[in-house]
């Protein structure tokens, strides 16, 4: 054997590696009754919840129609459909926030714990393949659960109020949620040696990303000197998939400024203080004036009248102008795609970091528990 024949560069195996890991992981996850039982339990839970929400909404609607004979039953049915849809999306978001990190937080740390990572690391498969393969196969399981719930969600079409593209939006957000928080779990799993610690820290991070950052927004908002002061950045909510689902729900409402839309409008900085949103700085159709840019700080009264902020004047909009109603409704999909994009970027970042941490001969290594620490070099003998 000459050196020349040996010195042929071999490419890192990415695809075969991902396949190898995927086949192995899925064989383990889907073996026996486990997969069947978990899918069944998930669908039963989701269906049961949908039924209960439906019952609540139906009884509410019946009461309203009893007291207000003028209520249109078609509108009521649509309200029920929207309610079930939104409740299902919120429930599934909650379940995915638990299931996705839980199924990934042990993937790499358990290989370390069981001392199998070395066996993997000496094969030519790349760290990318190890991390991505593990993440994808863990997510496959979550994806199966999400997909299995689609028939349950389809019940909303019986009631109406939700268009198929709303369902697509909702499910797109669910998948993004699973990917992002799955990647978060994978990151902590590769950072820490112990699966328990990785799982714990992952859920702390999930809480910070969702509840924590949202609470900071609320804190900043409530403690600011005036309601007209600059709003806290909406980006604080980007990691909270519930808010993104609220925006999807807002889309089903046609953005009347009430319901879920009022929450989204409050976050995105469109003023809702009088119940009608005005996208600040955007053009509004003012009756008799055509398209006019509304200056910052403009408020629109529920009747469409433009009113000034205290101490500010208007040059181009006369106080008392009436805004055309269709101009008041800001466009759909203005918030949740930003949230989805942020979560996807986060997923890429965490996955990249996980790959770094798994690479056996990496050059940098953070000082963390479980990794050999600097020895004391004092003169005193032990």
């Amino acid at each position: 054997m000459t050196g020349a024949t040996l010195r042929r560069r071999v490419p890192r195996l990415a695809m075969p590696g991902i396949t190898a890991i995927g086949v192995k992981e899925l064989r383990g996850r889907m073996r026996g009754k486990r997969a069947f039982i978990s899918v069944t339990v998930y669908v039963v839970l989701v269906a049961g919840f949908a039924w209960m929400v439906g019952q609540i909404l139906v009884s509410t609607a019946e009461q309203q129609m009893q007291w207000n004979p003028g209520f249109n039953s078609t509108v009521q049915s649509a309200t029920i459909g929207r309610g079930i849809f939104t409740a299902l999306m919120f429930l599934q978001t909650l379940m995915i926030l638990v299931l996705a990190p839980a199924s990934t937080a042990g993937t790499i740390s358990s290989e370390r714990e069981k001392q199998t990572l070395d066996l993997l690391a000496v094969t030519p498969i790349s760290s990318v393949a190890i991390v991505v393969g593990k993440l994808l196969s863990a997510l496959t399981w979550v994806f199966v659960l999400i997909l299995a719930s689609i028939p349950v969600t389809a019940i909303v079409f019986v009631y109406g109020g939700v268009a198929p593209d709303d369902v697509v939006r909702g499910y797109a957000m669910l998948f993004v949620t699973a990917i992002a928080f799955g990647a978060l779990g994978t990151f902590f799993s590769s950072l820490l040696r112990r699966s328990g610690a990785a799982t714990g820290l992952t859920f702390v991070a999930v809480l910070i990303a969702t509840v924590g950052l949202s609470f900071i927004w609320v804190f900043m908002y409530q403690t600011s000197s005036s309601v007209f002061a600059r709003r806290p950045p909406e980006a604080l909510f980007y990691l909270n998939p519930f808010v993104a689902q609220a925006d999807v729900a807002c889309g089903t409402e046609g953005n009347t400024g009430s319901g879920w839309c009022s929450i989204i409008n409050g976050i995105t900085g469109t003023f809702v203080d009088f119940g009608v949103p005005v996208p600040v700085g955007r053009e509004l159709i003012i009756d008799g004036k055509g398209a006019v840019a509304v200056p910052e700080g403009a408020l629109v009264a529920p009747d469409g009248q433009i009113v000034p902020l205290p101490g500010r004047g208007f040059d181009d909009v006369v106080v008392g102008d009436i805004a055309a109603p269709d101009a008041l409704a800001s466009g759909r999909d203005r918030y949740w795609p930003r949230s989805a994009l942020t979560l996807m970027l986060l997923a890429v970042g965490f996955t990249t970091a996980a790959v770094q941490l798994v690479t056996p001969t990496r050059r940098w290594r953070p000082r963390l528990p479980g990794i050999p620490r600097r020895r004391r070099t004092g003169r005193s003998a032990e």
């Binding site: 064989r27 069981k114 066996l119 000496v122 094969t123 050999p372 020895r375």
Partner: protein, 323 residues
């Protein structure tokens, strides 16, 4: 013969802790090469660097001409590694375990099928093909791990303490297996602190202590080169004070490093000289009227060699290395 595994001044430092302090190895193709040393000598660190699992702080190593620093991926293709402690995946059958690693090397399906059959035959696990890996005995898991390291038909096998935790029977089986692998043309680097195990198996050894190679080569050559001396046993026909006087006489001779009286009345001597020196010592003893019934050189085995080499009291610069 050409060196298939070669390391050149390998150093691994963890912060202030020096795990290995310049390890040079030279393993010829087809050898079974033993890394001998006490716990914490740096055997595992050395093997892990060779297996591309650790990056050396300084120095480099080559396996089949590939540098572990610059071409780790090529090294991984010519290398099979069995770590000292390894786990098995739950929820995996024996054939799936091998199939998984074969996939990791990108082997096509037909090849995988054939190789899995061959390997299970080789490590005598053919009847356990569909058993779950976690249900196998320790010895079987060890053999399975060895089989996994062979799926890609590597030229070099690195085995870290392969016999630890095995019962005597499993050890014998493992030894036979390694011999068989050698006949298949594999070069095997094996580490152990259990010396008899290596002595029967290895063609060459390197004695490692405190992160350094103290001696390496064929066992007989090391003995020669180091002149670490031999143990001489003289059966002296005397008792009590006369025996002690004889012992004292021996102790006063040049090249005698130590002397002791064994319970059976034999005087045992640590002797630094060569064979001619031993002849001279015997002649002098007879001239001194010491009644000697027998005078022999105790067969120096690896264990003694090891104790003598590592017992040499020269503190290494990296002596704090104990990891």
């Amino acid at each position: 013969m050409t060196a298939i595994v070669r390391s050149d001044g390998l150093v691994k430092r963890y912060d202030r802790t020096l795990a290995i302090a310049g390890v040079d190895l030279d393993v010829a193709e087809g050898e079974i090469f033993g890394l001998v040393g006490p716990n914490g000598a740096g055997k595992t660190t050395t093997l892990r660097i060779l297996a591309t699992l650790l990056e050396p702080t300084a120095g480099d190593a080559e396996i089949a001409g590939w540098s572990v620093r610059r071409n780790p991926n090529e090294v991984r293709r010519v290398l099979g590694f069995m770590p000292d402690v390894f786990g098995v995946y739950d929820d995996m059958r024996v054939w799936e375990y091998l199939d998984f690693f074969a996939r990791c090397y990108g082997l096509p399906a037909a090849t995988r099928k054939r190789i899995i059959g061959d390997l299970l035959e080789l490590v005598d696990l053919a009847d356990k093909r569909n058993a779950y890996v976690q249900g196998l005995s320790r010895g079987m898991q060890q053999r399975l791990c060895l089989a996994h390291a062979l799926v890609h038909d590597p030229k070099v096998l690195l085995l870290d303490e392969p016999a630890s935790g095995l019962d005597p029977r499993a050890r014998v089986e493992l030894r036979e297996l390694l011999r068989e692998l050698r006949t298949l043309g594999k070069t095997i680097v094996i580490s152990s602190h259990i010396l008899p195990e290596l002595e029967e198996l290895c063609t060459s050894v390197a004695i490692v202590d405190r992160g350094r190679v103290l001696a390496s080569g064929r066992i007989a050559d090391i003995e020669q080169r180091l002149r670490v001396g031999a143990v001489l046993r003289a059966r002296v026909l005397a008792e009590g004070e006369a025996l002690e006087a004889a012992r004292d006489w021996f102790a006063g001779q040049p090249d005698v490093a130590a002397s002791a009286i064994l319970p059976d009345g034999t005087v045992e001597l640590g002797f630094r000289g060569d064979e001619a020196g031993a002849a001279g010592l015997l002649r002098a003893a007879i001239s001194a009227d010491i009644p000697i019934a027998s005078f022999s050189r105790a067969a120096s085995d690896l264990e003694e060699l090891f104790l003598q080499v590592t017992g040499q009291d020269d503190p290494q610069p990296g002596s704090e290395a104990a990891a």
